[in-house]
């Protein structure tokens, strides 16, 4: 009990506290004092002249202008499309909002790269057929004429009075004249937003719907088993604009490359920092600096860095569309 071997718990505990506290202090010393001395080399002086880019930047020859006024969370940008006849450009961003609707925002640029108009469509089952925005129950001809209202299909056989033979004949005549055809099976129709009566009338009789574009008017044919009629859909897409490949970081190319990147802090899966961009068009170069996130490849030595810049320019386009991190889009034009 009173032998010298007996541990003094007070002393032991005090020792323990000192050891753990010491380790804690050492950890902070390492984190703060030691790691704070690690710095990256200063950015070369040549990059100080790069213009900061927020809503735009311009020099004597080139101008980069933000396409959208505010930088809201506008969702995923789909590849831009161009009407080969008029040279109009359509941009489409999609954001999943709820289970029953997506927020589709469409932007229309004229052939010189000016933002003319935009349209918000919040619904499910939205698709594009050439320049028409198609929903099973309505369509928009907005890209052609700028009208912002929903348009109704001209109904054919809405009362389902045509017999099988007559329906097939009707289908074939419509199909022959139509430039574009799209088919909807009854399973995806008559869901949300239809009344119980409509549902009983159309869903229970397995009524499909086929839409036909004939001389700039859309007709909707109702009937059974339209999906299995011969011919199938006639769907077209506007021309996609060529996207130039800029995946190699720091490797010069003749349109856009990241000349330098200064790391500021480690983000979730990469580095946040400032990118110094060389943007070129023809013989002119615009040099801008902008905040950007670089993704670092995991487990590769040396690590690869991937940026999220996109550059779209068709062969005949007088301007280029540059997108940064999917939600900032710029138009590059020469003055």
């Amino acid at each position: 009990m009173e032998g010298s071997k007996k541990r003094n718990p007070y002393k032991t505990n005090a020792m323990l506290l000192v050891v753990i506290g010491g380790l804690f202090l050492l950890t902070h010393l390492f984190h703060f004092a030691f790691r704070n001395t690690i710095d990256q080399p200063p950015t070369p002086a040549q990059y100080a002249a790069y213009l900061p880019l927020d809503s735009g930047a311009k020099n004597a020859h080139l101008e980069l202008k933000s396409l959208f006024a505010n930088n809201l969370d506008r969702g995923r940008l789909l590849p831009p499309l161009m009407d080969p006849v008029t040279g109009m450009v359509m941009l489409n961003t999609v954001k999943e909002e709820t289970n029953y609707s997506d927020g589709n925002v469409y932007y229309r640029l004229d052939s010189s790269g000016r933002l003319v108009d935009s349209l918000l469509v919040e619904d499910y089952y939205i698709s594009l057929n050439r320049e028409y925005i198609i929903h099973p129950n309505y369509y928009y001809s907005w890209f052609l004429d700028g009208h912002q209202e929903k348009r109704e299909y001209l109904p054919v056989n809405e009362d389902l009075k045509l017999g099988t033979k007559a329906l097939q004949q009707r289908y074939e005549t419509l199909y022959r004249d139509a430039e574009l055809v799209q088919l909807f099976g009854y399973q995806m129709l008559w869901g949300n937003g239809t009344t119980e009566r409509e549902k009983r009338k159309y869903y229970d009789t397995k009524t499909d719907k086929a839409i036909f574009l004939i001389r700039n008017k859309w007709y909707a044919l109702y009937g059974k088993d339209l999906k299995t009629m011969p011919g199938g859909e006639k769907k077209k897409s506007l021309d996609t604009i060529r996207q130039l490949n800029l995946d190699q970081l720091g490797v010069p190319n003749p349109y856009l490359y990241v000349a330098n990147f200064r790391k500021d802090s480690k983000g979730y899966e990469g580095w946040d920092g400032t990118a110094y961009l060389n943007i070129m068009m023809g013989k002119d170069t615009l040099k801008v600096s902008t905040g950007m996130t670089l993704n670092e490849s995991v487990g590769k030595q040396p690590p690869k860095y991937v940026h999220s810049l996109e550059y779209f320019r068709g062969k005949t386009m007088p301007f280029a569309i540059i997108c940064k991190e999917n939600n900032r889009c710029y138009i590059l034009k020469s003055n």
């Binding site: 380790l23 804690f24 704070n36 990256q40 480690k266």
Partner: protein
């Protein structure tokens, strides 16, 4: 040798229950989202069991003479120990690899960490250390 402290079942269950309640309240209050309530509530059986084990471990350590049976020591020693372990594991999320912090910034980052982790575990451990019975000196001398 100090006589091992007897811990009644009702006592340890009360402690564990209070600690799991306190953990839910503190964690939910310091988080932004109400969904956190569900998350922390679903963790509470684990907290409950862990607290019971923790109480017995503390008492065993005190019986061994490693911990001094005093409210301050039985709080501070495990608290410091767990803070160190947690800091080692999660510090990467609070301080950047490429840091150039001033002392104030660094302190701010550490305070973020302290608010997220040290505050809840500190309160819970403080409660445990207050509620655990302390061995009586007389018993020792009589034994």
């Amino acid at each position: 040798m100090r006589k091992p402290q007897r811990l009644s079942t009702s006592r340890v269950c009360t402690i564990a229950l209070l600690v799991s309640l306190l953990a839910i309240i503190v964690c939910t209050a310091s988080s932004d989202s109400l969904y956190a309530l569900y998350f922390f509530a679903s963790c509470s059986p684990g907290v409950f069991i862990f607290t019971i084990i923790y109480c017995f471990v503390i008492l065993a350590l005190e019986a061994r003479g490693i911990l001094f049976p005093n409210v301050f020591f039985r709080f501070a020693t495990p608290f410091l120990f767990f803070s160190l372990i947690i800091w080692w594991f999660v510090s990467e999320n609070y301080i950047s690899d490429f840091q150039q912090y001033t002392g104030k910034e660094y302190l701010g980052r550490f305070m973020d960490f302290a608010f997220d982790f040290l505050l809840p575990i500190g309160l819970c451990m403080g409660l445990v250390s207050l509620m655990l019975p302390i061995a009586k000196e007389e018993e020792e001398t009589m034994a």
